[in-house]
Subunit: 503 residues, 4 copies
């Protein structure tokens, strides 16, 4: 029995919803993408969104041409404006990642992903700086300086990996960073620039990034890195399986920058985990499961103690790094897959979005908060085994004594997501894994994606209610308790209702 | 075990959705009404809608005035057009009930209901006939003759009750009918006119109506009456309790016109039950319950054998015959109450709307149909005790052997409504019966009104699947079985999914 | 030539959009009403809305009943909550007018309007006070105290007229006011209560109201009165014609309370004109015309100098004081008539809503403002003859020299409303005055209601552009000038475009 | 004066709206595309839509993979289903063009367009046939056989051009056609297959296509070709200028297949012009102008006499054959550009959609039709000079005597599009050609794109009304005349309206 204190331990950080990841920016032009993002913002409400490919050819920004015998550059914002306008209409702001390289500005032809992002340094750092300045000036003109000052600007993505930056050339990255950071500040000194957007296990780059920033006196407004926990991949066609490190490993990855940068020039800067997930592969079915929601629950509950944001990679399966998905469920990163079918991890975020600002209790399997109006909200989750050796416990009890206050009874509403409930993936498997479900099947999947809801009354004694929960395998559950102000009229006699059992 | 034959016994009649009732027509101007009707049409799809008050003062149709010293009549269709336009946009057509009497055309001042419908004969039958002709001509002009010929036109409401027709004066009704029917046919001979819209237990009026029609050679295109099963009312403030006759009593009331009119001039005419429900009171909480859905299920399953339509009175609690409702749930007739909160009986209709056209089996607690694409749909319901003496059984088993065809397995999706599920009324009681729930409470009620959904796979042997259902108290349940075409790829190994129990 | 200075003369008051009037509150349940209000809020954006009938029987608030042999009162907010919830979703707040009297609380049976508002004092001032307290407590519970503190609460309507308050009994009104004001403050001392909502030409009541407030030490947070300018009515069926006093007469009526209350206890309180219009009749065709927009333009331009708000009576023709309208255009007060057909006066408000905050110039036929981004906005209007003796001038020239700033050219966009343009009424007359237009006719009317738009470029010399306007009869025109940042590429040659005249 | 006869000359063909072109199918996933298409379907209502790239890599259909040591092909319809579902929701059907070649099925690496469609024959005709069969079977499964039988299936695009089909190899095309046609018929014999989708000036291919079809006994259900009238291009950065042949040249191009195929096996088959426009370039500003609408008007009026359909290439500027557009107006083919800004040619189509089925008169500058309800609709257009030598006449008079029938007056509504009205392009030029307009500028452009509307009454004498039109330069105008049924009440006196001139 967890006796939850009536006095809050503090405020619950909302670093968990500061930012979310997206497939390449061009995909934001799509309807399914925007419909999904609208749902996300209604139920969760992220503040920023970050993805690759802002300057890729598909966005059509960098446009050299010849006129009267000489070469000129046009910077065109037709699509960028459509994307950012859509974001703002949907109540979200861009977390700008500058990259990859326009083909005609690139120094080489190495590309990454099915959609061929060019990962080589610019042929001309001057033209790159012009491109950065022109883009930011345009955004400032269109959206206002006050607004754009709130948009973080990150230089490139995972330069420490040769897949993402030719040769993983650290000196070349530092040069790119320096040129870019100065170009950003040319536009306005209060714009926020940062990096180096490292992949996991490369924190030694941080040390040298700090040293470089100091040595060259380069502006850095925030520090960023990524975090994933998956082991080696076992491949199948269009997919892969991996075991995972424990979720605590993610928290440990979050924690290192603050420690490591102590005493450096970058000490105290905001730290953004600009990507995190379990597996880094967009074709691992773990992303579609209830297991995944239960696995990540403690990360959302505790992550905000360690960093300023940690951005789930990515909100939607509208994502093409390894090609066009061949089936509705395909192990994509998304909180929802195509057609706005929500996955269990979507509900984990939606449940977090219903927690109150006062942190009352937090533990290995629970988080308890209170709203200003007195409602108490409990998020509880079952333990999981990320090694794949056991299926995890099929029942997990949690008991709370909750400080409800003066009412005689509490209204209790429970929302459940587990292997059977709030789980479109299981329904889809039951249906026979239809690769491209028909309208009627999609309707069933949308219904199956809805968490199971139950409600009841709970007695309150001396200001406290006892809540007994038994979680199913991989369950995450949200319980909301509201003190009851009973308006049942004095003449009401339940027993006169036809079919009611005598009380 | 019910062995359902593979050969259909016939087609399932859809008389159950031919028509639905509504509070007075003027209420159709309201937004909550229209929002609710839109939901209804999406989930159920009624063809016609019938309510009182088409010609009442609130509709502003009959408008005498003086000009240059003499009296004239203006017929104004400002609101009538807004209402009928809205109906047609929502995919439903009016079942026109002519009444009640405009105050300035009335011969007396007797009124019915909180909203004061005048129930006296016209001062001038000529002006009444003018009013009828003008109204129908206007509708024909606006909507087209072909369209209006499909709209039944019913003369008055329950003239056999002194509350609805001054003195329950049968001769006066016959005169009104005759004048009206001829006025209708003046506009177009193919318009459909009928009556006499009798209240229950008054079938002797039918005999005399047939005799009158013959004697006076009056056009009658259909015959209408009403059916209710409630006993005497026990009053409480803003409410009443009643016991009910068994549901079979409703079916017996439906059956009498065809029998009784055999051999008369009205033999073979369409018979419309233009109102039916359990209790005739808009303040009996039985209407809000799961009991009610289970009680009416057999009526929907069998009623179409007996009549051409039976119109549930009424679709929404936006209804004011006994005044403005004082609480969200108040025992109103509605399939849904205000704010589009759906009741269990709404789901009974929505479940019926998912049944297929081929009738495979039908019994005391079930209805089994098939769709052209092979899907089998089972509606099952628990027995109820309408006397109030017992709560009814708390468990009711039903077992079927269903002809699925060649697939190896069937996908089974079950939707459940009972005392706990798909039951906003129970949730509202748990909340403390908030008379006017807040936004957050309404959200909970909307969720609680959603049927519980489960899904699984069922093996098929020799073309048949065995379906075991155990119904909870007052449960209605819809089960849809779809043969599975399995698209799971050959390389899929469930056991490699993290957290899965070894199969 | 009006030389508009570059330095603003001050801020333009937006008292003109502080509040707008509505037909009785119950009508807010209707869809046409809400659709119209949504349009209004999109184009204009009023802050408050005020109408009669908050406590009338149609709202169902005051509900006496007997239980166990004694009489009780239920206060029911089913409809009030639907209305206020809708208002808030539409971004507008209620300006609460307490009245009229519920029939069962009334001391007499005198009513006003087709919809029979009871205008007699309460049988029991205690029960009235209970009703006021219960209503406000409920609103505070639902919407929060901070919110409700911003809603003005006005006691009754035009008590100085015997039609609206039995006998125009001043003592009885003072008693009602006192009881009500104390009831309001019982709920929360910071709620805002006021009155006396006088009809025009009755400012002597103000003196005695101030004296009464002082003598009895009664709370008064604001003072309210009404203003109309119409002369005697010449009646036709369903209509009336009247001449009008000049618009300046409205401004004079606005001005009196501040003067008159100087030195009294009410000195310095906010003054709200809680109703104003030209004619006080809802069946005078003047409301539908371009004349009316031009007539009221100076009132909107200058009124904010004199009062804290002046509330146009009323936003929509969904209004039933003299019965259900018999034709689409019927001389109703509305800024728009049914089916969201906008009238010229709607556009006057929409044009005002596009004016900037900096007041540059103001005159008998114009208002010039500037936006923070440098856009200059000109509203100009033609003179009118409210006596009906002349049609007013058919051409009215206005010329401006406008301070545009550094650009070489300005983009000029003009929106015109006059007898032919932005004038659905004229189109409707051309169509043959169809009383209840069909869908296709409504489409034409919606198009005809759209202002005519033209656009061109204007040269700028030494920071100034000369704008020559010629206004047609009864025209109101909005001109927006934007400095041009030309992005035409250097290679563009207009003459190469097919069909272009050589430049 | 054109005396329009009262007896119709026949029915007006609607071949003009049978089909419309689109940028590559993948773009249909985008929101701007779908929003634009929704508008188009509301105002025009095309039946079919045809574009390139159905099988391109961006659609992700053809997906080879290795499993257990051998190669397999997966056919994936994730995006194809999203596209076709969207089309059907928007009330339009696909006109399927099979092409281009998936990279992994291609025999070479030649590509066309910025988006790199592979234009080489398949490496394996067997795998290509499998791909065609799998795609069509999937569409039949999803949408039903009856539905898919109505979708024309065209084999490849412009194989007679080496840019679109490697080497313009006719034998290779015939082989592809043959394999494809048989694959189509394998799925269902009633599916409609055709070709050869020729570019202009290549009708000799038709002769050989007919001969080939006969010789090899290959199914052909329809014949298709393209038509354009532009001359050589004069290039500027991101654009080109061209002169045009007269519009009659398009009609001549339409006419040849029926003549040429007389007596062949293909005689009498439906002929579809599956692409037509003035210029074939997506960067010629002529597409944005009023000139263009006037130029094409006679083509829409007469084209249906010559072919079964002629499909405007393309509905939207969401089109990327020569890259991402660098400015809102960029000379794209679209009837509308990005952000749903409609061009003059959009209105030409919308005007055509308002014409009635009875063809009363047709000439060089006009088309007159009647609706079943008696409305007469006149489309008139100004002459244009496609050589660029003159700007065309600045005034063009047209006069009609129109058979209105018995009414005393007609209501006349005119919608005008010319250089100044209904012309967002002109407004955009006035604004300074903003490459990526802001929200406020887009609002202005949307307004500027609206045709100018006027309305008046016209007297009718002996059943006829005289209509005098003067067209401005490049004007297209739609006039609708409706006989007036006057409902003005007898007491109405216009002169009593304030501000009216005495009549």
């Amino acid at each position: 029995m967890i006796r939850v204190p009536a006095e809050p331990a503090g405020r619950l950080s909302d670093a968990w919803r500061h930012c979310v990841g997206t497939g390449r920016i061009e995909l934001a032009l799509r309807r399914d993408y925007q419909d999904s993002l609208a749902l996300l913002q209604r139920d969760i409400g992220f503040r920023y969104i970050r993805g690759h490919g802002l300057l890729d050819d598909g966005m059509g920004v960098y446009r050299p041409y010849d006129h009267q015998g000489s070469r000129h550059i046009h910077h065109a914002f037709t699509y960028l404006d459509q994307v950012v306008d859509a974001y703002r209409e949907l109540g979200i702001r861009p977390f700008l990642e500058l990259g990859f390289m326009p083909a005609e500005l690139a120094s080489g032809d190495q590309t990454v992903f099915w959609w061929r992002g060019n990962v080589t340094p610019p042929r001309s750092h001057q033209e790159w700086a012009d491109l950065v300045r022109a883009t930011l000036r345009h955004l400032v003109d269109r959206h206002g300086l006050e607004e754009v000052r709130t948009w973080p600007i990150e230089v490139w993505n995972e330069p420490n990996l040769a897949d993402f930056w030719q040769g993983a050339d650290e000196q070349a990255y530092h040069r790119l960073y320096e040129v870019t950071a100065h170009a950003v500040k040319d536009v306005d000194a209060a714009l926020q620039v940062g990096g180096p957007a490292l992949s996991p296990m490369s924190d030694d780059w941080l040390d040298r990034f700090a040293e470089f920033a100091e040595r060259r006196d380069v502006p850095v407004d925030f520090v960023s890195k990524h975090a994933y926990t998956s082991g080696p991949a076992q491949h199948v066609p269009f997919g892969a399986h991996q075991t995972l490190a424990p979720a605590s490993d993610l928290l440990e990855q979050f924690a290192t920058p603050r420690d490591r940068l102590k005493g450096t020039r970058l000490d105290g800067l905001p730290v953004h985990i600009t990507e995190f997930n379990s597996s880094y592969r967009p074709d691992n079915p773990v992303h579609d499961t209830a297991f995944h929601a239960a696995y990540l629950a403690p990360v959302l509950a505790w992550g905000g103690d360690l960093v300023d944001s940690f951005s789930y990679w990515t909100f939607s399966d509208m994502f093409e790094e390894s090609g066009v998905p061949t089936a509705l469920f395909h192990g994509g990163f998304g909180l929802l897959t195509h057609r706005q079918v929500r996955k269990p991890t979507y509900h984990l975020y939606a449940f977090m979005a219903r927690m109150g600002p006062e942190l009352l209790a937090r533990g290995d399997d629970h988080l308890v908060t209170r709203h200003p109006d007195g409602r108490i909200t409990v998020l509880a989750w079952a333990p999981v085994d990320p090694t794949g050796e056991t299926p995890g416990p099929d029942r997990h009890p949690v008991r709370f004594s909750l400080p409800i206050g003066a009412a005689a009874e509490a209204f209790v509403r429970r929302s459940t997501v587990d292997e059977e409930h709030g789980n479109a993936y299981t329904a889809w498997r039951h249906m026979g894994s239809p690769r491209s479900p028909r309208r009627g099947q999609l309707d069933v999947l949308h219904e199956a994606a809805e968490p199971a809801r139950t409600h009841r009354r709970l007695p309150v004694h001396q200001g406290r209610a006892d809540l007994d929960l038994t979680l199913a395998r991989h369950e995450i559950t949200l319980v909301e308790l509201t003190p009851i102000a009973d308006e049942t009229p004095p003449w009401w006699d339940e027993d006169r209702l036809l079919g009611r059992e005598p009380s």
